[in-house]
Amino acid sequence: MLEAIVFYTLAVFTLGFGVLVITARNTVHSVLFLVANFLCVAVLYVALAAEFLAVIQVLVYAGGIVVLYLFVVMLVNLKAIPEAQLDPARRSRLGFAIAAALLVEVSAILVYAGQRAGPAAPAAVDTPARGNTELVGWLLYTDFLIPFELASVLLLVAMIGAILLARREA
Amino acid sequence: MFDTNELVINMGPQHPSTHGVLRVVLRLDGERVIDANVVIGYLHRGIEKLCEYRDWGQIVLITDRMDYIAAASNNLGYCETVEKLMSLEVPPRARYIRTILAELQRIASHCLWLGTHAMDIGAMTVFLYAFRERELILDLFEDYCGARLTYNAMRIGGLPLDIPPRWDAKVRAFCDILDEKVNEYEELLTHNRIWLERTRRVGVISGEEAVAIGLSGPALRGSGVARDIRKDEPYAAYADFEFDVPLGSDGDTYDRYLVRLEEFRQSTRIIRQALDGLPEGPIIGKVPRLIKPPAGETYHAIESPKGELGYFIVSDGKSNVPYRFRVRPPSFCNLQALPRLVKGHLVADVVALIGSIDIVLGEVDR
């Protein structure tokens, strides 16, 4: 009962902040709502007993990435919208296209998840790890080792690329 | 795609680190200074004009109000200029005491500079230490003439007062204290890594460029130019004393700092010699009751704590006031180098450099 109340309250807040992110007139406010949104999601993770994920959510998203968003928003004057984006027809067409793609994606996931029998969770029971953090670590370095390493290589490439782009011509 | 605007910030005239009412308009790219425009004049009191309406003796008082950190040096420069114009002989005792006062004043001025300069770079304890020693000098001046800031300590032709009894012993005791305290300042700053990083290679100016742009005093000697008016064109009693002129090598903020610190020691050295050799005799020469220099003009410069303090005075020989009274303020001319020094440095260096050239707005604006 208590859990349900917590979940629905948080769900309402999360969605509410999500809506505010896209409706806020002021870009900085919008970014702030995004932070609030992330914090609510973090609390949802806590409710799911995934403390590690919750803390990482706060640390990486709220504390790291959005700060950089804020940087960009504060430094770059976003009040003047480029001419091309003012065309209403173009905007709605693009919006429809993205929304349709998203819809297809979500339904595909739902259909696929419905077909698969049983979640992957029981596999984790066999691990020697106790506790939340250890479990995440164990899974990352066993079952998901290749995706994990791929992701890290991708990040490395992105980082080097960013450094090259940012470097001024000597 | 992105619009990288330059940021224009206005530093001063109310700003904790501009040492008064200096205003610097900085054009920034991020935190890097592209261009600086120095705006002065907020403290302009028209002293040059005013002095053309005051008689020769009264002007001593007004000169106190220019570089109020080193009022006695201003007095000295003015009195010597008028004496030169009148070809007056100043008795040796007066010249010795003048030298002692001027050197005490140099120490007081450098104390204030050290304190504020260190404070600008964030070392706030040095500020209070330096002011503690400056306080002792103010006490000495109070003993001598009763005033602590604007002394009116000299007269054309000599001095108004002889030194009070036991004053020389107090000055000697002070010199001993100061020598010890200068080591303390050095301990806090000279080899401090952060201090080194903040001052070395900041605001580098070569000797030739420093001369061309008109720097004088410690700011010029920091660039390695051996020019000290006390040595080159001796005035007061400086010709009788032995002292070294410290020189920098790189012309950066750190060298200017080292030069001034060494000047503390040289100043106590001069004071000790002057006290040892203090001659007996009158303290004021044969000055006519009505001071009226013959028609003529002259330029005379002394080494004030900040640099070349020059007076250009024209007398028409008929009236009881100067016809033209001009001060060559060292702070004004040194400040001129600020835009050149700050270019390419960060905002934090701007305050370090303002401190490094040691300005007093009372003198810049007059």
């Binding site: - | 002065i40 004049g41 302009h44 028209g46 040059e48 004009k49 005013l50 053309e52 309406y53 005051r54 008689d55 009264q58 030169k84 114009l85 070809s87 030739e208 001369v211 061309a212 742009i213 008109g214 004088s216 130019v225 020019r227 080159d232 064109e233 028609a295 003529g296 003009e297 002259t298 330029y299 410069a301 070349e308 020059g310 250009f312 024209v314 028409d316 020989g317 008929k318 009236s319 009881n320 006031v321 016809y323 033209r324 001009r326 060559r328 004004f332 001319c333 400040l335 001129q336 604006d365 007059r366």
Partner: protein, 192 residues
């Protein structure tokens, strides 16, 4: 206040000529040789040499004084002016020079009338920049070719030039108090 006991304003600086038995320094004679006619007058008083120059030759002579091995006046101590209203060329622009290697001084003087432009020496001595600005501000002497000739001590919209002898010590205050509208008109006119 000590009221000046001046009866008639002097018509110019005394500038006494050097005594006959005192030969001028070599660099002054060199100027006379190299730039014939440039030196209008030579003066010596309490140990200071003053050369009154023709304004048109100022920059040439200044450059020579800076670079010639016998002169080496690398340091421009001061640029200032004095005002002698009865004279047709009422201003004297005074340059105090100092040679750091040779430790000697000299003063250059150039006469200028109201509205006359004096050539700038900022290209010879960059330090003259602010000093010339100050002279412009306080005397109204224009320096031709100056890179940044603005007022420096007085406010940008100030009327008049305070160091001139005909400018009252009290400033323009009386007109302002008695007739602010007139005063404002005067200001506006000058800004335009």
């Amino acid at each position: 206040m000590a009221e000046p006991t001046r009866i008639a304003p002097p018509a110019g600086p005394p500038d006494p000529p050097p005594p006959a038995d005192l030969p001028p320094p070599d660099f002054i004679r060199a100027i006379e040789d190299r730039f014939p006619g440039a030196v209008q007058k030579l003066s010596y008083w309490v140990g200071d040499w003053t050369i009154v120059l023709d304004a048109g030759r100022l920059v040439d002579v200044a450059t020579y004084l800076r670079d010639a091995p016998g002169a080496l006046f690398t340091f421009c101590s001061d640029v200032t002016a004095s005002d002698w209203p009865p004279r047709p060329k009422r201003f004297d622009v005074v340059y105090s020079l100092y040679s750091i290697p040779l430790r000697h001084r000299v003063r250059l003087k150039v006469q200028a009338g109201d509205g006359d432009a004096v050539p700038t020496v900022t290209r010879v001595w960059p330090s003259a920049n602010w000093l010339e600005r100050e002279v412009f501000d306080l005397f109204g002497i224009v320096f031709a070719g100056h890179p940044d000739l603005r007022r420096i001590l007085m406010p940008d919209d100030w009327q008049g030039h305070p160091q001139r002898k005909d400018y009252p010590l009290e400033g323009p205050g009386e007109l302002l108090i008695e007739d602010p509208v007139e005063w404002l008109k005067l200001r506006q006119a000058d800004i335009e």
